[in-house]
């Protein structure tokens, strides 16, 4: 297995350049289906194969909390540009994850917080992790897809 260089302090973009050159992409079968609005259809998050390779390799990606800190900054009304981008580059990168841990990380990074923090509260389950084979085979009526609550209860 390729050894990850010591990357703490290296710009995240440079780490991704290294990963692109040294790691093969990993196509995950996992999908995250979530609903962030009652008026909209279900959304389906698909992990990126090159990102998944970085997650499984370890020593490349920053802790997910770094993204949450940057999101807080960006949510400020007077935000114009990031001034704490160094958090991405100088925070100790996290170790290798399993594919399941990587999906959990990705949910916390790329899904709305309102979804993953309260996914099982309220009348409807707002998020499920499934395999791609469990999704509809065609995209017919795509704009009406919803999470099947009966299937989850079963």
């Amino acid at each position: 297995m390729t050894q990850t260089p010591e990357f703490q302090g290296t710009h995240l973009f440079d780490r991704l350049c290294w990963a692109k050159e040294n790691l093969d992409g990993v196509q995950s079968d996992y999908r995250v289906v979530y609903e962030d609005s009652v008026d909209e259809c279900a959304k389906i998050l698909v992990p990126d194969p090159n990102w998944m390779a970085c997650a499984l390799q370890g020593g490349i990606l920053p802790p997910v909390e770094v993204y949450h800190e940057l999101a807080k900054d960006e949510a400020q009304p007077d935000f114009t540009k990031h001034t704490r981008g160094y958090l991405l580059h100088e925070t100790q990168p996290i170790d290798a994850m399993t594919e399941e841990e990587a999906i959990e990380y990705l949910i916390k990074k790329d899904c709305p917080q309102a979804v993953w923090k309260t996914y099982n509260e309220g009348n409807r389950l707002k998020m499920v992790i499934c395999k791609k084979e469990q999704l509809p085979k065609t995209r017919e009526w795509r704009n009406a897809w919803k999470i099947d609550q009966d299937l989850i209860a079963a």
Partner: protein, 132 residues
Amino acid sequence: MANGKIKADTLEHSTAGSLDTSYVVNGSAKAWLNLNGTGTIATRDSFNISSVTDTNTGKYAPVLTSAMGNTNYSLAGYNNKHSGESFYAGGGSGLGINAFVTTTASTYDLLSYSNAYVDSKYVYSQVFGDLA
């Protein structure tokens, strides 16, 4: 990088002149994506993307791994206007970029010939701008 670093402000060719390395740093694409937006959507290849969310027919939302420094970055892209194979004359179109853009996320809207949302088999996009 850990396996070697060259620091230089200028690159000089023996006859063709010189170039500030800032041109290279500032002018390079910071992310790119080649996506199959049909069926169970799938990324063929990419750089600096952590995930793509299939949000509806003809709507896809990629997220960056290394965030941009601000929201004034530039997105470029192209797609065929249907779920088939061809890119014949007039058969492609630029990406519609949803107004909601953050330093890591944006949404692409793809329209067909009849201006209806359509799932495209070939979606290409690039991001230019300043990294955080």
